[in-house]
Amino acid sequence: MSGNARYVFAVARDLDVAELSGTHGFQGAAVEAVEHEKLAAVVCDVDLAEFGAEPLTRNLEDLAWVERVARTHNEVVWRVAAVSTCAPLRLVTVCADDESVRAKVDSLRAGLEDVLDRIEGRQEWSVKVLVAPRPAGETSPVAPATSGADYLRRKRQASDRRRDLSVEAEHIARDVHDLAHTHAVASRRLAPQDPRLTGRPETMVLNAAYLVEADEHEAFTAALHAAGEQHPSVTVEVEGPWPAYSFAVLE
């Protein structure tokens, strides 16, 4: 397969395309807007030798390629979100040409308008709750077990302690989520990230996204920082604002 296609980053409303001048997509291609009535699809040219169906199946197995594409996608979405109301598209959406982009936007117009209404003037915040692993000394008995029964008893106690801790962490995660939700217009819980992917020793017990009014974010972050201080056994991490990725899902 050869030739070019259009990679679609986002659909925006109230976008002045001049504000995106100097923004680049892949391989230095300029970012352009394909306008359709009041909406604009933000696109750039891509080479089908890289983004065509067959090369994509190979490239999607190359983590370095995925990372490069994800970061470029994110950079463009940030630029668009900074100057418009922006519904980001999922990674690697490729259309044959502008006509096809317009047809897609047209067929989804009602849903897109709903999404844009939902996220206008709002931003996404990420909240994570992490529990540090217990130091080994706290869970293993110092003196050797005096008998088989003693060994089993200690083993059971250690297991009870671990269970109590994880139950406590779950409770805290729920409290933090409830608190964040009261300051948000919508929330979405994501799967906790595996320690092997985060590269951190802590166990994640909450990984959630909140859609917060732009002028409410100080109250939101202040409430969560206070919650973190109230619960010293966990770490509460608040990151944002993100473009509203988690709330741009078409129903």
Partner: protein, 74 residues
Amino acid sequence: MSDIDLHASATGLQPGGAGQVSLVDLLDRLLGTGVVLAGDVLISLAGVDLVEIRLKALITSVRADMARRERAEQ
């Protein structure tokens, strides 16, 4: 959303900012979320969820690699 609000980030999330967003945080948001506007190229191949499926497979294999490496180190 105004320019000022988006860039008034306490944690330097924006590209080129102080803190680099981790790939796993990025993929959390770029996979399975966002508006799904299925592209021609993907549809012609295998349907709308192809990208997500392949990326899930990729992440599964990364996890398996990491687990193998951990076991080898122990």
